[in-house]
Symmetry: C2
Subunit: 433 residues, 2 copies
């Protein structure tokens, strides 16, 4: 087997995990012995590190590795967007394949990066960028390619799933649980990207491009986080037989426009029936359900983040490149490369159809449920259940779960309900599957 | 993209599924258009078929397809063992790669088949042979290769899972449920291979070879089926918080002999805690949990059989071969091929350690639980719970669940318990995880 010589850029959690696998005394497949680290580029060579490195692997300048004719593959695990993008593009232009764990860069600059790779006859592999250790990118590029993918729905952010699991199990409020997650290292100091849903939106954007074959306009993904979740909603959901999870959703829509495939893509906190396979996915675990024809429904479940799982995905990508090195380099492997093969567009938010959960605070007066029901009926919104749950000081909390309905009709109903004199506040709104 | 010309041998459920995908009007990746069917070999050309075929694709003699220089890949979906083995070997010797859905042949003749493929510079791909549509063979050969696999445990036979799910949900007995499964087409007329566990043993043998890298002696896999399961055991298990599933289990053992890796492999009906991810896998679905280092635990879940899912796996294997056709054929792709890289052996049954469930029918006399407890204690068998569950006509049923213990110590205890004058019968014994 030909040696595969890699340059690693970044030596944080993932970088250290990669080093650990390659130097491991574990009982690994012999093919792993043929991966050789040429250098590791870091910001500060002299920083004290808990991982002891062999030889003088650390260098300061990542561009040295890109220029080094000895290096076959660049492994970008530094994070961030602008410099990482530059490093990835320059590596590809230097005809070096790239492995990256950087979902933010791929979600934003995927188009430019995929086409630069193709133009230069090399590859960019991204298994570690989505759902840590779960094999999901490779199945989309290979095993599932014999199918028409219809829908993907998943729990693909570990931080928010940890927080929601804790809130649900311990009836704790959001702020306190976020602080705990930060203390335990499951949430970052600035948790915005996770708790506001942007990280999940990055990932569902990458997965949708691979599954449906067209460029996704990342900024059009309707995104809500968990930072508005009230413990009351979790309690009510549990009472009614649901769990609340932050879901990423992507579905093929029947109506296409000018040969461009319509997709319904959103990220948001959602009620899931307790019997649903995704309902038992707890803590920092991730899972993704894929509905495909003729395959049916499969679920891939596992650790969504962490040094070991993410590094394992990076190293398996390196193995894919190593095996491609032995081949006639003039031909590109169509299952390893990725190119868009069609146009896609995200349908507008008011065209999205889904089930909804609504919590309304109103006066505890006998006719109010009827009035709310009338408004939904008039607007053609079919209701699955409407329950009055909590009442105190003349006030009542009413929870409504609708059947699937377009956002347009639902928003119109909400406006009319809000205008009822008995209604004080629409306290929260969530999706349901 | 180079055309990939295939010859299909067999046109039963899976063969028809393949034809349907390749002629599908679904929205599939354009790469699928480059697969061309040269011919389909069947026993009887004139048999009436519900699938209408284009042109004159049907032929009588499978060996004609093997000899045809126009054919790149042979797809063996005829089933059976002896003729299928001959067809696979002759195809490989004619330097044609093979895709097969035939677990019985691979479990028995894998060694001969893998080495013939390697010797002739071609591949044999088997995704459809295990767990129908679930991507499991490819992840073991690719994504998971950066890990040390420690354990695999799965529900990998759809027929028995359908029967056990029905028995559990409807408190129906085994014989009646088997008949229903046969009527619905989920069990064959001769159900032996499924209900006695041999099909699951075939599959865990194939998976273990891929995961651990050594040849498995298929006949040494300790195999029990579900044909002895009493509805009483399912009721008691449910009462105690468990489901009963037919599990296939394969684990790396700490003690190796002469550099040969020791493996603990068995197939048997087992109690699973209801909170365990495998407990909710119902009906004809399959799922497999893989515990690996540094990855952690992942689960792959989906339809374990059926025309569409199995055909989707066959076609994705064909795509893998198609992409290899464009390459320099002198080099073999180490991730697509499979060779044993070490020795493995299965530990003897009395060395296996596991948790056990035992149902004992005895006289309803006050001292009997104490006597049973004493025997286990004396033999160093630690008990998780011992419960007297049903009593009638002076008889009692006692259910014991042990902690993990070697089969040797457990069997010795059983013998002594059987000899107690109060004990009438050890009615059943199951594994627990």
């Amino acid at each position: 087997m030909q040696k595969c010589k890699i340059g690693i850029i970044g030596f944080g959690t993932v970088g250290k995990g990669i080093y650990k696998i390659l130097k491991s005394k574990n009982d690994l497949h012999p093919i792993l012995k043929d991966i050789e680290i040429v250098g590791i580029a870091v910001k500060n060579i002299n920083k004290k590190r808990d991982t002891k490195l062999e030889n003088n692997l650390l260098i300061n300048d990542p561009y040295e590795l890109i220029k080094d004719p000895n290096v076959d593959v660049i492994v970008e695990v530094m994070g961030g967007t602008d410099i990482a993008r530059d490093i990835i593009l320059k590596s590809l232009k230097a005809r070096k394949s790239v492995v990256t764990a950087n979902k933010a860069v791929i979600a934003r600059y995927g188009n430019e990066i995929y086409s630069t790779a193709a133009k230069n006859g090399v590859y960019v592999l991204t298994e570690a960028a989505v759902c840590g250790g779960i094999p999901i990118i490779e199945p989309l590029k290979r095993s599932l390619k014999s199918n028409q993918i219809n829908k993907m729905v998943g729990i693909i952010n570990g931080t928010t799933n940890f927080i929601l699991t804790k809130m649900s199990n311990e009836k704790a409020d959001y702020e306190a649980t976020l602080k705990l997650a930060q203390k335990l290292g499951f949430a970052e100091f600035d948790p915005t990207a996770d708790v506001e849903g942007h990280d999940a939106a990055d990932k569902i954007s990458i997965l949708s491009e691979l599954a449906f074959g067209g460029k996704i306009n990342r900024v059009s993904i309707s995104t809500e986080g968990i930072n508005q979740i009230d413990i009351k909603d979790i309690e009510y959901a549990n009472k009614l037989g649901f769990e609340i999870k932050l879901l990423a959703f992507s579905e093929r829509n029947a109506i296409n426009i000018n040969d461009s495939l319509s997709l319904n893509i959103w990220v948001g906190p959602s009620l899931i029936p307790k019997s649903h396979p995704l309902a038992t996915v707890d803590g920092v675990n991730n899972a993704i359900l894929i509905d495909a024809d003729p395959l049916g429904e499969i679920m891939l479940y596992g650790p969504g983040a962490g040094s070991g799982p993410t590094a394992a995905s990076v190293v398996s990508d390196i193995l894919n490149l190593q095996s491609s090195l032995t081949k006639d380099t003039k031909s590109i492997d169509p299952l390893l490369s990725f190119n868009f093969w069609r146009d896609c567009h995200i349908i507008e938010s008011n065209q999205i159809s889904k089930k909804n959960y609504l919590r309304i605070i109103c006066l505890d007066s006998p006719g109010v449920i009827g009035k709310i029901g009338d408004i939904f009926g008039k607007n053609d919104v079919s209701i699955e259940s409407i329950v009055q749950l909590d009442a105190s000081q003349n006030k009542a909390e009413i929870v409504v779960i609708t059947h699937e309905v377009s956002n347009g009709k639902f928003e119109k109903s909400k406006k009319e309900i809000n205008a009822l004199s008995e209604v004080e506040l629409i306290a929260s709104q969530l999706s349901c599957i």
